[in-house]
Amino acid sequence: MSEIAVDILNMTKRYGSFVALRDVCLSIKDNEFFTLLGPSGCGKTTLLRTIAGFEAISEGAIKLYGEDIADLPPNKRPVNTVFQQYALFPHMNVRANVIFGLQRLGQDETTARARVDEVLDMVQLMEFADRLPAQLSGGQQQRVALARALAPKPKVLLLDEPLSALDLKLRQSVRQELQQIQQTTGITFVFVTHDQEEALTMSDRIAVIADGQVQQVGSARDIYEAPQNRFVADFIGETNLIDVAVSSVSGGYATCVLPGGDVQFTCPAAAGAVVGHGHLSVRPERVSLVKPQDGLLRGVTTRQVYLGTDMSVDVRLEGGKIITLRLQNSEETHIPEIGDPVGLNFETGTARLLED
């Protein structure tokens, strides 16, 4: 098992009576690209700032490679941050910005200069070294901010939505660049975003956060394929949540009864799932269309939307619940007309009973 870089233990952060982070436990591994993903206002920035040392924590502990750092001021933590708005020092040129941290650490001039050249080279900004921040484009400023934070070789690099100020094209290319830099430098990255595509494509592991609490931690695949609860299932990608009666849960599997039928079936269950009333999550692309009498569920087609390579079809079940499915847009796929009665089917392994 690899070493733990940042260990957050039962950490709570309050602003007055408002609880911004509640009982957060996270272990971020060494050399990992770790992403904090969640909707606006969920506490991502706050969590990052507690690691950087800009916010004091109210309860719990933060450890960096085993050492408790909760009491260390930011300038004593071997952690650097790429700020969302970059905050390049306006009165210093690119080189002076990048060398700033090295000088504070007391590195000798030649070593520091060599390191500056190295990181500027890494972000391909050599030719802009003597410019002031105001003379750079947004993308270039972003890379200076990155170089500045990388220069002191931090143990952990924190990035707060560093790509949000860039346009779509640029964002996509910088994503790859970032990933590559993470791999070559071997620095642990903690990356904040509210963009799920960004999170899914870049990260080794993702922590989904909502309302100041960690909802689930896992790889992109884990989180998409095996969401823990309704929030995660709904927030990451699209899903259908179906009300079911759960008759038994054991060994990671549950037996449930679908609505409007007496079909009983067994599917994987999240850790917190319980007997009684529950929710089943089924991804739209996992649902297939069959003849009404062959389906696990039956309903009437109410809507179809053309999406290019795909087709999205809505089916209303007898109880009124709408199920969305994704069909490939090819010659042989049969697309039902609106009003057609249809049956819906899915592999029991692709459905998942959630923690309620």
């Binding site: 040392g53 300038n75 941050t81 020092f89 700033f100 941290g101 504070r104 500045r148």
Partner: protein, 307 residues
């Protein structure tokens, strides 16, 4: 960006377009006629011959400037040597104003920083407390200071009664008293522009600095001070310039030994001892010095703006 938009909107759709000159006319007339023209007259007067009961004789003369810079002996026929009396008064004024500015900065910067970093309604209360003394009559403030620091004034009484000192400290009529008076007169001028700069300061810079291992001290000297420098310079000028030409503080607190430019000028226009051309010349020299400082400031601002 915002400035660009604003500029665009005024140039295209100004409500009173074309009326600018008309609306501006009263200001031009009043300030032009009663300030610019008088300063021009003053320049002319400085090159005229003095009339003994005050006033001038309309005859060109360089005497006023000659008197300022050169000593030609009692009868005016000795070979000219540099006259130090007036130059020394200028030096003393610059020194006094400089000391007052330095101490204003020392107290004013932390105060401005502290106020600018308050949050909520407290902030405007603090700011208001700092501005009030500025609006209180300068004469009254100077008198209050004089009353406070007199040999038998409340300060000495109080220190004596506490046993801190065994005999009154003599402050009044010293150059320290003048410095104190100038400092006291113009301190709010230091706080306000620095406050305005700190208000605009983006605290993310401090966070980045701390993140990059800068101590508080390094953050202050390497990041904060360079960035809020325009406010600091503005504050220093707003304290230094009026201190240089101040009349009340040196006159009421300094006594005869601590003569400054203001008193020198004032003397030339009072009673029979006056010398109007000389007074005009000294005023011109003071004005030129102020203009030099202001030009330096304007260039500094332009440089900051270019960034």
């Amino acid at each position: 960006m915002a400035a660009q938009i604003a500029k665009k909107s005024t140039s295209n759709t100004s409500t009173y377009a074309g009326l600018g000159v008309f609306l501006m006319l009263p200001s031009w007339a009043v300030i032009g006629f009663f300030l610019v023209l008088p300063v021009g007259m003053m320049l002319i007067y400085s090159f005229l011959t003095k009339e003994f009961r005050g006033g001038v004789i309309w005859e060109f003369s360089l005497n006023a400037y000659d008197q300022f810079f050169f000593d030609r002996g009692l009868f005016g026929d000795a070979p000219p040597v540099i006259e130090w009396t007036y130059i020394n008064i200028f030096w003393r004024s610059i020194w006094q104003a400089g000391v007052a500015t330095f101490f204003s900065l020392l107290i004013g910067f932390p105060t401005a920083w502290f106020i600018a970093t308050r949050t909520g309604p407290n902030k405007s209360v603090w700011l208001f407390l700092i501005t009030i003394p500025y609006w209180v009559n300068l004469l009254i403030r100077t008198i209050s200071m004089k009353f406070l620091i007199r040999d038998t004034g409340p300060l000495n009484e109080w220190l004596l009664s506490l046993g801190v000192i065994s005999e009154p400290i003599h402050i009044i009529n010293t150059s320290f008293a003048v410095q104190l008076g100038l400092f006291y007169s113009y301190l709010p001028f230091m706080v306000l522009p620095i406050y305005a700069s700190v208000e605009r300061y983006n605290f993310a810079y401090s966070e980045v600095a701390a993140d990059l291992y800068a101590s508080r001290r390094a953050t202050l000297t390497k990041i904060i001070i360079p960035i809020v420098k325009p406010g600091i310079i503005a504050g220093c000028i707003l304290v230094f310039v009026p201190s240089l030409g101040a009349f009340l503080a040196p006159d009421l607190l300094g006594g005869a030994k601590n003569f400054m430019i203001g008193s020198l000028i004032e003397e030339q226009f009072k009673g029979n001892a006056g010398n109007w051309p000389f007074g005009a010349a000294v005023s011109m020299i003071l004005l030129s010095m102020v203009l030099v400082v202001l030009t330096f400031y304007a260039r500094q601002q332009a440089k900051e703006g270019a960034r």
